[in-house]
Structures are given as structure tokens and as C-alpha cells.
């Protein structure tokens, strides 16, 4: 029998869920809906008596205080639907459910629990949602609501009226292994093979495979071919960052290399890999003693204190989030958490930086096949909230940017920070160790995710690669994490890695790289039968880790897993033979030399060209009323308060958040960085987390952008008390198609900037990741790349978290200092973007910035600083306004005392220039002399003082007041009263 139980809201109090749907329906332009009711549908297959159905509902589904239920049954699914249809008649209802085979954790929990409680005989469960509308709605309106608000075609289906339940399809095991005839194929056939099998391998790579198998005297199996495509994918191999690059640039392009003669670049240059030359190159040159692991493990690791190390990784999950925002972001968070677990770290913080198209975009302007930015943003934020909160990891740091360039290619950067005792992380599997899989089961989810990340999105991508989207189940990951943490503490494994892109192929293949591994695929627990061997091997099902476990520790590990409800499976062993061997029911389905798997790919030579874009080099600024300009900047989506989003993330769990993302008199000022002082460490050392990002500079000058965002990331953490001499960086490049020389040229310039800036600041890179091919090909074949976007994340040690500083103004009568020099740098600045002006000089490198930061850090450590805020988008004016908002006090500023270069001649330039390496600092009058002495010889001057009156008042360079604005007005603008860009 088939049953459907509908649970509905029954009290007169408002149902927030329904209100949300109503709001979204209006947002997509449908005015006719009068009311909407939302209910949950549960479908059950099995044998239950009427009283058992009622018991199931009451015991597990219905909240008797606010909900009611009704139910139907039918011998078959069509009979059940007919029953429901007869009951519900011509109601205006949309019902939405998952597609068959999509992971549905709620259904799985219900199935397990119904069996545990012995409620009838339950064979299958599926879920859905029902939206019942009233009002004047045509069926075309209902379709539009379903498609644009309620249902995502990639993972869900909908019906108007009763939904057929998506029970997991029955299937038999599949033994099918294909042999692919590559040896006899000509070039054309090889290229076609790569496309048809979604391998994304180049012709040269296909030829290398052909050569290898000709030598072996046989053709590869599909398992082997898929393994190579995954291992050699851009995502796993970072081919662009390892490629040899022939770089040419225009005459006169410069670099500022610390310790070397500053000078022009040669016009032609061959670069021996961006990663080794620039990113890792800087780390090796700096040779900081506290760096424990850089670019070797799943995450970068540095010393925290004498006993502990802290790890940090940032990943992107752009393509999946474009197609299925909730699932994409959800599993992005889950994936980066596993990277930290993969270095034996206990996750202590999550970070996220998001780039979306404008939320107020007209629906008609959104390209075909692309979700509206508002829908992407809503789904992504909900996905981050769901995973981070359920894992019990505070989501503490991040940013949200909006630009037209991200409409088709949103960027989702997810970061995670972990903590471990020194020596707890082990990374040497021994011959004889068991290859153990922990956590979730394997399904068909996420096939080809690794290779798909090399694809450019088109308007049809959603339809052709639907299976690349994974659905997360944070609770499975949480349980798995707890098991791993116990295994770590008891020293039960020799090596550990996560199953991310490429699944077991990547995890076991990577881990067994030096010793060799043999895996039996028929032992892998599956979510449902029917997967072919290569699908099991490559599946990117979430929440799985692979461990190398010595035989003698297996019983103890099994005991831990049983207590914590974690599934453990021995899937093979490490051999000591240097080969990758995969079997299915004893039969060999892959057998390759590890050296070929990992190093057999032909290292490409790529071509890069760089020419500065032809933009006017003007610095002219219009002479508006500066108060109204400031108010407009505060309301700009990039600058406006993100409080509504931040509060949806649990930033308090683990109790370590000493400086919170929101600070100030009423807890709503934007913190420059957060400080965590983890309970599991001794004493009051802290971890400060910050980030720098600015694609607008990158469109004009990627080299200068890299310097500017490194500066921003470092000054973020210095502003709260981080030690600039114990600060590490992560680089995450999101770029267009690197096969196009102009895209790659900009990437070379940005990488050079990263190198030079890292040396100047003394801040090594410890981890990085790139996401390339962020391009969209529209239905007319036109290519659009995202703005070149470099995220620099910073991790800094705060010597004593109890001396941390926040950005809110504290006390009337205190003095305000400007630290750092203001220059005429409006290129890419928010002020100019607001006026629709492109071009101009972007903030230039400040090679001596770290000296200023060191001095400021000493002043903070000595307790001389009451508040400190770094200057970024919107410049001095926005920073001052934010300090006023956060402190709910007033401020007098006199621009005549601002440290500035002679070309800063107008008030607008002084207020809105975005020069790097600048801070506003509040100092008590009695500490002023000591503070000035600490900063002597640096560009620093008293700029004003804090007042009681609650007014921000700025005196211009000439004479007279140029900004005068009450704190209430500032607050109103910053918090988006009347803003168009509501989520």
C-alpha cells in the first residue's frame, strides 16, 4: 500500500513559512495570490493499519500544539493520487518533491525511526511540500511560481495537484564495466570520446593515455579512464597553476619586489609554474618558523601556541551553487570542513565570502537558464546556515559583494579553521594498513563534479549535468567528525583524507600514491543498488572520509563508530606495491601504475598576455553634497549592514568568539575581523580571521589589486589585535577561462602581486585554491567572464585576546587618529562606481605598510587603543560613519590634519579615496602622548575627537563643514530602510 500524510499549520497565529512564500511570490511579479498555506507531505510505502498510520503521524510527524494532519491511502501510486485528487478537487495547489535518487535525509530518518518503533511495516519513505494558494491565479501563474520560487528543476519536480512520491527506484546491482578502445582511435575520435564521456581532457592528455595503454598492450576500462580524467582534472591537479607560461606584456609594466631593484618587467618571459614561482615561492623565501604545512596537506597549518597548531582552508563551490544554490553552498561548507578533518583538525570556525549579481535585477534581464540573483543568494545563505549551524561550528567571518559580472557565475568561497595538538596529524599510510571508509553511503550524487568544474556554464548546463549536484547531510558529517576526533586523540590511524571531488578515486588514489592501494568496490555500502563500478569509484557522495588504519586498531575504531552511529567499512588495504588496483567482486577493473596516474599528464605550456585595459586615467570627482554622497555609499549593498545575514549563522557556538562579527553599543557594527579564543587551548591566545577582496581594482590593474587585498586581509586582523608577524594568508583565485591569453595574463599579474606583497608584509601563503573557467556562454554563443576575483584570507595569532580591540567608538572626549597616508586613488573606488565612472588610479602598493602595522600592533598590545577600524570600500568617510554607528556617539573630524599626498586636494578625494594601509584609531586623551610616540615617524595624526552629540561632523580641507549628519540617519541608511535589495 501507499500512504500520504499531510501535516498542516492549524493555529490562528501566523505561519512564518507561508509569509515567506507570499513575499517571494510578489517578488517574481505575481500579484494575484491572496493567501498561501504550506504543509509537509510524507509518503510511505508498506503495510500499516489505520491506527498505525495515526500513530506514525502523532509520534513522529505532527506537532499537536500548532499542527493538524490528514491522510490517504491507495493500493498503487496512481490510486493514491486519485484518492487525493478526489478529496482536494480543483484547489490551487503546487506540490514539490525531490527527484528519485536525490538524497533525502528526512525520509531516511523517518524510515529508520518508524522501524525502530515497530510501526507497521514500512518499506519506503519520500517527502514533499504542498503549497495551497487562494486568489486570482491562472495555471500559468502557478507554473511560474513553481519554477521561480518553489521548485529547482535540477533536484526537484513539481505538479499542480497531487505529487507522485519519489520512492527510491528499485534496481539490481550492476556489474557492467566497459573497455574503451583508445588504442586504435584517431585524434578526432579521442577528442570526441573526451566530450561524450564528460572527461574534459585535452587532446594531448588523451594521447598520453593512448600511449600508456598501447605500451600496456590493452585498452583501459571505464574505471581507469574515469580515474585519469578525475586525477588530471583542473580541480584536482591545478594544471593552470603548474603549467609553463609564455608571458608577454606591454612595455613599462612594473613590479615592486622587496629587497630588489624596482623596475620594469621584461616584455617576454617564461614562467615555470605560477604556484611554485610566485605563491609557494614567497612562502619558501619567507621561511617563517611557525609554518607547519603549506600546500602539502588538505589545508595549511601553522603553530598556534606551544601545544597546538591551527589549520585553515578556503574552497570555492561556484558551479554547483549556480545550479542548485542551497545544495551547492551546503556541500561547499561540508567539503571544506572535511578538508580540516583531513588534517586532523577540530573545526573551530567557518568563513564565507559570497559574490552575487544585483539582487534588484529585472527578471527579464536575467540570462536564459540562469537563476535570479535573489534566488541564488537566498539559497546559498540558507545552505551555509544549515550546514554550519548543524555542525556546531561558528560561522564568523566573511563578506558579500554584488556585481553584474556574477549574475551567471556566482562565487561561493567557504572556509574552515581547525585546531589540533602538535603531532596529532599523521600522513603516512603503511603497507598492510587497512583502507577504511567512514561516514555517509555512496550514491550516484555528484558524478563528474571534479571534471565538471572545468566546464564553462551554458544555458543548458543545468539539464545536462544535473547529477553533479550533491545534497548535504550535516548530521552524518557531525557524527563522522566526532568519531574521527576520538580516533585522532587515541592515535588510531596513520593517514586520513576526505572524499571530495573525485570520490574514492581521489581519496584512495591520493593517499596510496606512495605505497599503492587495492580496493574492493563491492564492499562499499551504497544508498541504493544499481551503481556501476566506475560510479561507485567516482561518486562524490558527501560526508565520507578515508583512513589508513593499522589492523590492530580496527576493533577499537569499530567500537567508537558503533557508539556514535557512524558507518565504518573496510574497502581495501595499502599494498606497498606502488599500484592502484581496483576490484569489483574480485575481478580487477583497474590496475595502473601510481606514477602514471599522478604524474603521467603532459604538463602544458600556456600563453598569457597582459595589456592594461584602455580606461581613462582621470581622477576628476564631481562636487556633490558630500553628506548625501556618504548616505548613498552607506546604503550601497556592498557596504550596507549584513546583520540580517550574519545573525542567521550561529557565531557563538563553541563559546570562543571573543570579538564577534557584530560589535558596538547595540551589537550591530561591522567588525574588521573576529577573534576566537578556543576553550580547548590553555590561556588567552586568540585566532583572528580577516579577508580582502576587490574585483573592481582587478578589472583595472590585477597586480595592484593583489597588493591591495593582501593589505586589506592583513590590516583586518591587525585592527583587532592580530600580530602582523604571526599572520598567514590563503589565496583563492576565481577567474575566467585560462586558455584565453588575456584572462591568463591578468592571472599572471595577480600572482606576481601576491608574491611581492607577501614578501613585503612577511605573510606566507599556506594554502590556496583556484576556480577557473568561470565563464558563461549565452544562447548566442557570447562568452562572459566574471571580474577577476582574488580572495585573500588571513589567519593571525592574537597574543592576548583580552587585549583585543573593536571598531566601535567608545567614549566622548577620546581622540581620533588617522594612521596611514591618503593618496589620490579613486580607481575602482565605490565613490566612482556610484557615479558610473570607470578607470583612474587604483590603490597602489604601500611597500612599508607592515612597519606601520607593527607599530599599531604594539600600541594595541600595550592597551593604548580604545577602538580601531580599517579603511576600505568607501574610504575614510564610510569608516568614520561605521565607527559612529557602532558606538552610537558623535565624531568631529578635521580633514586639514589628514596625512595625505599633495595631490589630495578636494574633500571628496580625502573622504572617498581607497588608499591601502590606513586605519582610524580612538585613543583616550591620557594615552595620547604615548600613542603618538609609538607611531612617531609614521604617517599618523590626530584627526578629530569623539563627541556626545550623536552627529558626524567633517570639516573640509578648505573651510567649513562638508559633512554633517546625525547618527540616526546614518543608522537608517546602513540598515537599508527602504532599500530595494531585500533578500
Amino acid at each position: 500500500m501507499n500512504y500520504c500524510i499531510e501535516v498542516f499549520w492549524r493555529t490562528p497565529q501566523r505561519d512564518g513559512r507561508a509569509t515567506d512564500v507570499s513575499t517571494q511570490v510578489v517578488q517574481v511579479g505575481i500579484e494575484g495570490a491572496q493567501s498561501v498555506r504550506v504543509s509537509d507531505l510524507t509518503f510511505v510505502r508498506g503495510e500499516l493499519s489505520a491506527s498505525e498510520v495515526k500513530r506514525l503521524a502523532k509520534e513522529l510527524l505532527v506537532d499537536p500544539i500548532v499542527e493538524g494532519y490528514r491522510w490517504w491511502s491507495g493500493r498503487s501510486v496512481p490510486a493514491l493520487q486519485a484518492e487525493r485528487k478526489a478529496d482536494q478537487g480543483a484547489e490551487l495547489a503546487v506540490e514539490v518533491g525531490y527527484r528519485p535518487g536525490v538524497t533525502d535525509p528526512v525520509a531516511e530518518h523517518l524510515l529508520r525511526r518508524a522501524r525502530a518503533l515497530r510501526i507497521g511495516s514500512v518499506k519506503g519513505v519520500a517527502t514533499g511540500a504542498r503549497y495551497l494558494f487562494t486568489g486570482d491565479l491562472a495555471s500559468s501563474d502557478l507554473h511560474q511560481i513553481a519554477e521561480q520560487v518553489l521548485c529547482n528543476d535540477v533536484i526537484e519536480t513539481y505538479t499542480l495537484g497531487p505529487l507522485p512520491p519519489a520512492f527510491v527506484p528499485r534496481a539490481d546491482p550492476s556489474y557492467e564495466v566497459a573497455v574503451i578502445p583508445v588504442r586504435e582511435a584517431d585524434d578526432e575520435a579521442l577528442a570526441r570520446m573526451s566530450v561524450e564521456r564528460v572527461l574534459f581532457l585535452s587532446l594531448e592528455e588523451m594521447q598520453a593515455i593512448q600511449r600508456e595503454f598501447r605500451t600496456l598492450g590493452r585498452d583501459p576500462t571505464d574505471v581507469e579512464l574515469e580515474t585519469l580524467a578525475q586525477t588530471w582534472s583542473e580541480h584536482c591537479q591545478h594544471k593552470t597553476f603548474k603549467a609553463r607560461i609564455d608571458f608577454s606584456c606591454q612595455d613599462g609594466m612594473e613590479r615592486i619586489v622587496p629587497g630588489a631593484e624596482t623596475g620594469a618587467l621584461p616584455c617576454e618571459e617564461t614562467i615555470d609554474g605560477l604556484l611554485n614561482t610566485y605563491i609557494r615561492g614567497a612562502t619558501e623565501q619567507l621561511n617563517r618558523g611557525w609554518v607547519r604545512s603549506a600546500f602539502v596537506d588538505n589545508a595549511g597549518i601553522i603553530d598556534f601556541d606551544a601545544a597546538s597548531v591551527v589549520s585553515f582552508k578556503v574552497e570555492t563551490h561556484n558551479h554547483p551553487s549556480a545550479l542548485e544554490p542551497f545544495g551547492g553552498a551546503n556541500t561547499g561548507v561540508g567539503g571544506v570542513i572535511r578538508d580540516i578533518i583531513g588534517v586532523s583538525g577540530r573545526p573551530v570556525a567557518n568563513t564565507d565570502v559570497l559574490c552575487f549579481g544585483p539582487l534588484d535585477m529585472q527578471t527579464a534581464d536575467v540570462p536564459e537558464g540562469v537563476l535570479h540573483p535573489r534566488r541564488i543568494a537566498r539559497g546559498v545563505i540558507a545552505g551555509i546556515e544549515d550546514y554550519g549551524n548543524k555542525m556546531g561550528i561558528p560561522t564568523v567571518s566573511g563578506a558579500i559583494l554584488y556585481d553584474h559580472g556574477y549574475v551567471a557565475n556566482p562565487l561561493i568561497y567557504c572556509g574552515c579553521v581547525g585546531l589540533a595538538r602538535k603531532g596529532q596529524h599523521r600522513r603516512d599510510p603503511q603497507p598492510g594498513d587497512l583502507c577504511v571508509a567512514l561516514g555517509g553511503r555512496t550514491g550516484r550524487d555528484g558524478l563528474h563534479g571534479a571534471t565538471f568544474s572545468s566546464a564553462e556554464l551554458t544555458h543548458e548546463t543545468g539539464q545536462t549535468v544535473g547529477s553533479v549536484v550533491q545534497i548535504g547531510d550535516p548530521i552524518t558529517e557531525k557524527a563522522m567528525m566526532e568519531a574521527v576526533m576520538r580516533a585522532r586523540d587515541e592515535g588510531l590511524y596513520h593517514a586520513i583524507t576526505d572524499c571530495g571531488a573525485g570520490g574514492f578515486s581521489s581519496a584512495a588514489g591520493e593517499m596510496g600514491r606512495d605505497v599503492g592501494v587495492e580496493v574492493e568496490l563491492s564492499d562499499v555500502p551504497l544508498k541504493y543498488p544499481g551503481l556501476r563500478p566506475w560510479e561507485i569509484w567516482l561518486s562524490e557522495a558527501q560526508e565520507r572520509m578515508v583512513l589508513a588504519v593499522p589492523q590492530k586498531h580496527l576493533p577499537r575504531l569499530r567500537e567508537i563508530c558503533e557508539e556514535l552511529d557512524v558507518e565504518l567499512t573496510v574497502i581495501g588495504h595499502f599494498t606497498g606495491k606502488g599500484r592502484l588496483r581496483v576490484r569489483y567482486e574480485g575481478k580487477t577493473v583497474a590496475d595502473m601504475d601510481m606514477d602514471f596516474v599522478h604524474d603521467g599528464w603532459p604538463r602544458p605550456t600556456m600563453r598569457a598576455e597582459w595589456q592594461p585595459p584602455a580606461v581613462p586615467d582621470v581622477e576628476g570627482v564631481s562636487a556633490d553634497d558630500l553628506t548625501s554622497v556618504l548616505l548613498r555609499l552607506l546604503a550601497d549593498p556592498d557596504v550596507a549592514s549584513k546583520e540580517k545575514v550574519i545573525r542567521r549563522y550561529d557565531h557563538e557556538v563553541q563559546g570562543a568568539t571573543v570579538v564577534k562579527p557584530l560589535v558596538g553599543a547595540v551589537n550591530d557594527g561591522p567588525s574588521d575581523a573576529v577573534v576566537l579564543s578556543p576553550w580547548e587551548t590553555e590561556g588567552w591566545r586568540g585566532i583572528a580571521l580577516g579577508c580582502g577582496i576587490n574585483p573592481h581594482y582587478g578589472q583595472i590593474d590585477p597586480y595592484a589589486m593583489a597588493w591591495a587585498v593582501v593589505d586589506e586581509a592583513v590590516r583586518n586582523v591587525v585592527a583587532v589585535g592580530g600580530d602582523p608577524d604571526h599572520t598567514a594568508l590563503l589565496d583563492n583565485f576565481c577567474w575566467g577561462n585560462p586558455a584565453l591569453p588575456d584572462r591568463l595574463g591578468a592571472l599572471v599579474r595577480a600572482a606576481q602581486g601576491c608574491h611581492d606583497a607577501a614578501l613585503a608584509y612577511g605573510t606566507p601563503f599556506i594554502s590556496g585554491k583556484d576556480s577557473l573557467n568561470n565563464e558563461y556562454v549565452d544562447p548566442h554563443g557570447e562568452k562572459r567572464a566574471i571580474p577577476p576575483t582574488l580572495l585573500i584570507s588571513s589567519l593571525s595569532v592574537v597574543p592576548d585576546a583580552r587585549k583585543a580591540v573593536t571598531m566601535d567608538l567608545k567614549r566622548p572626549g577620546d581622540l581620533l587618529y588617522a594612521v596611514g597616508e591618503t593618496r589620490a586613488e579613486m580607481g575602482g573606488a565605490l565613490y566612482r562606481r556610484l557615479h558610473g565612472a570607470v578607470g583612474g588610479k587604483v590603490p597602489a602598493p604601500v611597500p612599508g605598510a607592515v612597519e606601520v602595522m607593527r607599530a599599531l600592533h604594539r600600541a594595541i598590545s600595550d592597551g593604548l587603543v580604545r577602538a580601531c577600524h580599517d579603511l576600505s570600500e568607501g574610504g575614510l568617510a564610510v569608516a568614520a560613519a561605521e565607527m559612529v554607528i557602532a558606538g552610537r556617539v558623535g565624531l568631529e573630524v578635521d580633514l586639514r590634519s589628514l596625512p595625505r599626498t599633495p595631490d589630495v586636494q578636494t574633500d571628496a578625494m580625502a573622504l572617498f579615496s581607497e588608499s591601502s594601509a590606513r586605519f582610524l584609531v580612538e585613543v583616550a586623551p591620557e594615552a595620547a602622548a604615548t600613542f603618538e610616540a609609538a607611531l612617531s615617524g609614521r604617517p599618523a595624526a590626530q584627526l578629530g575627537y569623539v563627541t556626545q552629540e550623536g552627529v558626524l561632523c567633517v570639516h573640509g580641507i578648505g573651510s567649513g563643514v562638508v559633512i554633517e549628519c546625525g547618527v540616526d540617519d546614518l543608522v537608517r541608511r546602513s540598515f537599508g530602510e527602504g532599500a530595494k535589495t531585500k533578500l
Binding site: T11, Q13, R14, D15, G16, R17, T19, D20, E59, L60, L61, D63, P64, I65, V66, P105, V106, H109, L110, R113, L117, E385, N389, K390, M391, G392, P474, I475, K478, A479, E562, E563, L564, D565, I646, R647, R648, D650, H651, E652, V653, Q654, G655, T657, V658, V659, K660, V663, G664, A665, N667, S677, W679, W684, A801, A804, V805, T806, D808, K810
Partner: protein, 275 residues
């Protein structure tokens, strides 16, 4: 030393904080998985206090706290009943509160009807926040002077009785069934209410309701925490375990101190010790 069992179900995530708070308050915390109780390798009666900590037990898959409630109802019913009837203290925080309410242990049966299966009648719920959003923010709590709760009654008389600590939940809106609210008032079962700030102005609570965001979820009568009739079982949505040292206060850099929630643990342990 008071041995405190901190019960971990798959998805529980504030168990370690609860343990730190217990330690700081002078107790001896032991974190154990529900499965250890289920398998009878550990017994509830070996402990003097029980904490059901925050998190997302079983992923809150069928509603917040729902499946853990099912455990409390079907797996541990007799053990829990003995524990409560013997007067030992139980503290349910956030997800633990949700589980206690949804299994009927809170507000709990009247003192005179404690026998038979399903003596725990579900009489209230914690449902989706009025905002329909998960929210993480600091709130102020007033220990109600008339409450019989063993965790809060020692605080209520103090000058600086009010506590501040964060909430972090999506389903914390307390809704009692018809007629239940009056009984909660009458029997002193309302232990903690949301208030708008640190200062007590002497007005009666009914005259000055705490509007959003002081009441962060739309709870009826600003109720943040309730206890059973005996007063030894307390459930609350906010997280007292996240404010046990001054540097967790959101405005410590502004010189603000006080409102430490550690006292709830101190009081609970003192009661357990004194029994």
C-alpha cells in the same frame, strides 16, 4: 563532586560548552552518547544531575528535538521518571529544552499523577520563530521571582539578577496549549523571561512586554524558560553555557561586565550537592 551527565545524541553540538560550564561551576561533567544509555552500559541513576545540551539531535529531521523526544519517551521513560521524582536536577538547553517539551516532560505532569505510560502529556511546543529565521543574538533574561525553579530561585532576589547570553535557534517560539499558560503562572513554573535590558525598572512584566528582538522568537508571554512543578527540571532556549567568562560578553571591549550565566550552573550544582 557532583557528577553531571551531559547527554549527547547524534547532532548535539553544545555538549562540550556545557561541560566547560559545569567544570567552571565546580562540577564533574561526563559527556555520553545516548547509545551508551540505551545499551545499558551506563546508568542514569549513577549521576546527580543531567544536562540535555543544545544542537540538532538527529538533524532535527522531523522538527526540532522531535526524535530525541521520542528517545526520552520510549527508551528512557522509567529511568527519567525515577530521576525526576527523586528530585535530581535536569537542565535542558535549546535542543534539550525542545526535546523535554516535545516529550511532555516539560511543563510536565502535575505532582500527583506520576504513574503509567504516557503520563507525560504534550502541553506546549517550541515552534518556528515568528521571523521564520534562525537567529543568533544576545538576549537578557529575568529570573522570575515567583518561580519554584531550583536553578533560578536563588538568583531572583539579587540586585543584579538578570542574565545575558546568546540565543541561536530557528524553532524557539514557546506556545502553550489552551489553558496551560495560567497554570504555569499559578504554579511558579515560568522560570525565565525575555526582557529588554539589564535594568530592572520595577514595573510588572505584563505592563512592559519585551518586543522583538528582545524576545527573539515571538514566544508567548516572553517565556524563555520553564520548569516542572517540582522545580527540578528547567528548560530554556538561550545558551547560558556561552556566557561563563566576561570575555564572552558582546560588549566587554566597552567595559561592560556582569549578567554572567554561569550562576545558573552554580545554583543547579549547589542544589544537587545539598540534596
Amino acid at each position: 563532586m557532583v557528577d553531571v551527565l551531559i547527554l549527547h545524541a547524534t547532532g548535539t553540538n553544545r555538549d562540550r560548552e556545557a561541560a566547560w560550564a559545569v567544570e567552571k561551576a565546580g562540577g564533574n561533567p561526563v559527556i555520553l552518547h545516548v547509545n551508551a544509555l540505551r545499551d545499558r552500559t551506563t546508568w542514569l541513576h549513577d549521576f546527580q544531575m543531567l544536562i540535555l545540551p543544545g544542537g540538532f539531535s538527529y538533524g532535527d529531521a522531523l522538527g526540532a528535538g522531535r526524535l530525541l523526544a521520542s528517545d526520552l519517551r520510549w527508551l528512557f521513560e522509567d529511568e527519567l521518571a525515577d530521576f525526576i521524582e527523586s528530585g535530581k536536577p535536569i537542565l535542558g538547553i535549546c535542543n534539550g529544552f525542545q526535546a523535554l517539551v516535545k516529550s511532555g516532560w516539560l511543563p510536565g505532569p502535575p505532582g500527583d499523577s506520576t504513574s503509567g505510560l504516557l503520563r507525560t502529556q504534550v502541553e506546549a511546543t517550541l515552534t518556528r520563530n515568528a521571523s521564520n529565521r534562525f537567529e543568533c543574538r544576545w538576549v537578557w533574561l529575568e529570573p522570575e521571582p515567583e518561580s519554584v525553579c531550583v536553578f533560578t530561585r536563588g538568583l531572583a532576589g539579587r540586585e543584579d539578577a538578570r542574565i545575558t547570553c546568546p540565543v541561536a535557534h530557528g524553532e524557539g517560539r514557546f506556545v502553550p496549549d489552551d489553558g496551560v499558560l495560567g497554570r504555569l503562572h499559578a504554579r511558579g513554573q515560568i522560570a525565565l523571561t525575555y526582557v529588554s535590558g539589564a535594568a530592572r525598572d520595577g514595573r510588572r512584566r505584563s505592563e512592559s512586554p519585551a518586543n522583538y528582538p528582545a524576545n527573539p522568537n515571538g514566544s508567548v508571554a516572553d517565556i524563555a524558560g520553564i520548569c516542572n512543578e517540582q522545580g527540578n527540571v528547567l528548560g530554556l532556549m538561550p545558551h547560558p553555557e556561552d556566557h561563563i567568562v566576561p570575555w564572552q560578553h558582546p560588549r566587554w571591549t566597552r567595559g561592560e561586565r556582569g549578567g554572567l550565566a554561569l550562576d545558573l550552573f552554580v545554583e543547579g550544582l549547589a542544589y544537587a550537592r545539598g540534596r
